[in-house]
């Protein structure tokens, strides 16, 4: 669908978007207009949440618009008090192929958990 707004060349399917002006303007579109917007990842902090949580992704032409799209797509039901967005291609992720060397070694090291302490009742968020 994105082509209709940014690259709507010849009388596409949607009269409202590509109609109105005909033919002559297409030359202006030939240079450097991207057909689709880059992907962003969205992180929202809930009202009682302590940290931002990944909630999904969206497409946007720039960072500011991505933030607004995130507000419109992911906080419609009164969920959030803070939003982070970042370009998906700025995220470096671990690979499933590396799962064993990455994560298996911690599987038997129970002593890394602070389970040998009594946590007082009035210490929150533990």
């Amino acid at each position: 669908m994105s082509g209709e707004l940014t690259g709507g060349t010849s009388g596409g399917t949607s009269g409202e978007l590509s109609g109105g002006t005909s033919g002559g303007a297409t030359g202006a579109l030939s240079g450097g207009v991207r057909a689709s917007w880059p992907l962003y990842e969205v992180f929202v902090r809930g009202k009682r949440g302590l940290n931002h949580v990944h909630v999904g992704s969206l497409r946007a032409p720039d960072d500011e618009t991505a933030l607004r799209h995130a507000r419109d797509l992911y906080t419609r039901r009164n969920e959030g008090v803070s939003i982070w967005v970042t370009r998906s291609d700025h995220i470096t992720a671990s690979s499933p192929d590396e799962k064993d060397p990455f994560f298996a070694p911690s599987g038997d090291k129970v002593y890394r958990h602070p389970t040998f302490y009594e946590i007082p009742d009035d210490v929150p968020h533990m």
Partner: protein
């Protein structure tokens, strides 16, 4: 707290919920709904219809972008704005039905009135046109309505004040959204700029009517209940010029600075008092809106869903 499931982590209170928002508020909670002393119920109802119909018809035009928007993200954004305005319309129409003593519900007023009984300005009933034109119209509408609601939040009528206070936050976002697109398209490619200029020019003849006060508005403004729309022009011009500057565009009537008042009477925006939407004078475009908007309610009288 488990963060395996984002919904659980966001909700945080352990409730089983299909959606994770909590803490919803009622904008009219604790508000006294009796009409203020010395205010004519008929006038109050008429005024609520004006502002309510503006929001209702504008909402419908925005809803028409559903399944037609250039991007999925924009479609949701436009639907959100439409829903904000529908919420304002519901409160205002309910208030109108209550104030005139006729006992009509918000649905009666929305779905069972004919075009001549609608009191919206003609700006909101005009067809969407292309995306640029829709953004020009939304910008004009939001700049004007925000200036209006901002003042209405001080109304002597507690319901109007509460509706306005809620609406200010909503319309501030609508203005921001529309301004973003006007700047992006106006200061974009040569082609987008041309489309944006055409959109603004198409909307402009409908602008002057926004500032022509109706006698009901003047009476209620003197009583401290309503806002005299002629008082909004300076703020409207200042805000709009700021956006248009950033978009490298100019107001279609902007010949020379300081002539804003004279321009109101110019041929481009001929809207003589007494002949506008506030008096029930509408174009055929409102008939088109109503034939769609009211079709279900009229086909199935009294149906609930």
């Amino acid at each position: 707290m488990s963060h395996d499931n984002p919904y659980e982590a966001l909700g945080g209170d352990g409730d089983a919920r299909w959606a994770f928002g909590t803490g919803f508020t009622d904008p009219l909670a604790g508000v006294d709904t009796t009409a203020p002393a010395g205010v004519d119920g008929g006038d109050l109802a008429a005024y609520c219809l004006m502002l309510g119909d503006d929001a209702l018809v504008m909402s419908h035009r925005l809803q028409e972008w559903c399944t037609r928007a250039p991007e999925l993200e924009e479609e949701v954004a436009l639907a959100n704005i439409a829903l904000d305005l529908l919420g304002q319309a519901r409160l205002l129409l309910a208030r109108a039905g209550q104030a005139d003593g006729g006992g009509r519900s918000e649905d009666d007023l929305a779905f069972l009135r004919d075009a001549p009984d609608f009191r919206n300005v003609r700006l909101v009933e005009a067809a969407n046109g292309d995306f640029a034109r829709s953004m020009a119209r939304l910008l004009v509408f939001a700049v004007w309505r925000l200036a209006l609601l901002d003042r209405l939040a001080g109304s002597r009528d507690p319901v109007l004040a509460a509706v306005a206070a809620k609406g200010v936050k909503e319309v501030a976002y609508h203005r921001d959204y529309a301004a973003g697109w006007v700047v992006r398209l106006g200061d974009g490619t040569a082609y987008s700029r041309e489309r944006m200029k055409e959109g603004l020019a198409a909307v402009w003849p409908l602008v002057a009517e926004l500032f022509v006060p109706h006698e009901v508005e003047l009476r209620l403004a003197r009583a401290g209940v309503a806002v005299d729309p002629s008082q909004l022009r300076a703020e409207f011009d200042a805000v709009l010029d700021q956006v248009l500057d950033a978009a490298r565009l100019t107001r279609p009537d902007a010949a020379r600075p300081g002539e804003a008042d004279a321009a109101q009477e110019g041929p481009a925006d001929a809207a003589p008092a007494g002949a506008g939407g506030r008096d029930g004078r509408h174009g055929t475009e409102l008939d088109e809106v109503l034939s769609v908007m009211q079709s279900v309610a009229r086909a199935l009288p009294g149906a609930t869903w």
